[in-house]
Amino acid sequence: MTDWRPTASLEYLQRRAALMKAVRAFFDARGVLEVETPALSHAAASDRHLASFEVGNPHGAALYLHTSPEFPMKRLLAAGSGDIWQACKVFRAGEAGRLHNPEFTLIEWYRLGFDQHRLMREVAELIAMLVPPLAGEPEVLTYREAFQRHAGFDPFTANAANSRDALRRAGREPPALDALDADGWLDLVAGELVYPALGHGQVTFVHDYPANQAALARIRPGTPPLAERFEAFVNGIELANGFHELADADEQRQRFERDLVARARDGLPQVPVDARLLAALQHGLPACAGVALGFDRLVMLATGAQAIADVIAFPFARA
């Protein structure tokens, strides 16, 4: 049996440690407070595309491993913490592959008074410090521009047939017309044609997502309404996802409810939503923007590793 050994080389583990030290110094220099929040929670992520690990609890109701520290961090912000950051392990069931490990490390931070554009600049500064070859001016595209450029259609007016045609043009056999809903088709085209084309030799940000894909971002009214959400890409790989944070408790409650309806429709388990987050938003979340950055992928980028297993001592299969 040789699978007791780490999959990452000692050299990469040393690089990883040095990078985390640099991240800590970055936030320390900017006066952002390092915090810790629970990994084990009574509430779970309601997003139908996130599967939480459920943990049996001999003393009461089941508990859930967090998929991101977002909710308790917002509770800290509502309680007056000011700017905060943390590095933590998060857990997402069913996500395993060359770029995914079900347990991975996020760097997540929140900045008071920032909007999505100001936070994108800070993400670029952090990446530039950790990976100096990426220190140049980042490319900033709207979601619409990214699709027009790399898939050849406008995602805000497109239908499933446009997506299937674009995939066929790229030599791919798309699923059946009724296999996916409208958002599913955009996700497929994004993952196959758009995102892989982004961030070559630079950091590329995509922002202003369709309102359906707002997740926890504010929606800016307009035609169409746009989610103030962004993602960062390098070498075609998503590195970070950020929001100009939704602060409206009623709107947040409605999104939780819609999530649960969608879960029921998809045949997914219902999950307890975070009532304490809603209470905190009711109390008042200061205007802020927040972002989560995949630290393992950042280490891949800094070392040139091709698989996440090369920068994690013991990936899931050896955990």
Binding site: G94, G97, L186, D187, E192
Partner: protein, 189 residues
């Protein structure tokens, strides 16, 4: 009916897509941002050999293909079917021209082949990697020319044609690499 979830996908797994058996060549988990997760799979149609890139929703299941590989000894051809014997139980099995593909042109008799079976029926036959065959027809050899590197066509006893070096003569035995249908070396009886 056995089935596989996309979570179980890996290279070498045999699955049914649109009624045909496929072999998974590559499987990659793709999850854009916050959205729907997919598996990007490269699959080979085991009937036609055609390779496809396909995306499937993660968590979907597909039927498993009952595909197994067996060793079999080639016996003879009746013109329509090629007959083989399973050396373990002496049962005979017949493959049609589609299943034979290019393999038929390397077989004389008694070769140990591999037969891929789908639901018990031959899907594809693979000849041994090397075949020793007699040259039955080729232009006269150039005596002493073993170095210039030129080639010429040569017809073999099974009817196959391969390119051989100029010094090869009719009646000689050669070793052919059946994977590439190319001359490999001179051979002895």
């Amino acid at each position: 009916m056995a089935s596989y979830s996309t979570n179980e996908f890996k290279a070498g797994l045999k699955i049914i897509i649109d009624g045909d058996p496929y072999n998974i060549i590559e499987n990659e988990f793709v999850k854009p941002g916050k959205g729907q997760a997919f598996n990007r799979v490269k699959i080979r149609n085991l009937k036609t050999g055609k390779v496809l890139d396909r995306n499937m929703k993660s968590g979907d299941t597909v039927e498993a293909a009952d595909v197994v590989e067996m060793d079999a000894q080639y016996l003879y051809s009746d013109g329509q079917f090629w007959h083989f014997m399973n050396p373990e139980n002496y049962e005979q099995i017949a493959a049609d021209a589609t299943a034979m593909g290019d393999a038929a042109q390397w077989l004389k008799g008694e070769e140990e082949c591999k037969i891929m079976l789908w639901n018990g029926r031959p899907l594809a036959v693979t000849a041994p990697v090397f075949a020793i065959l007699k040259v039955t027809e080729t232009d006269p050899g150039l005596r002493g020319d073993t170095a210039t590197g030129g080639t010429k066509p040569a017809k073999l006893e099974t009817g196959a044609t391969v390119r051989v070096p100029l010094f090869i003569n009719e009646g000689e035995l050669i070793k052919v690499d059946t994977r590439t249908a190319s001359y490999s070396a001179r051979a002895k009886e």
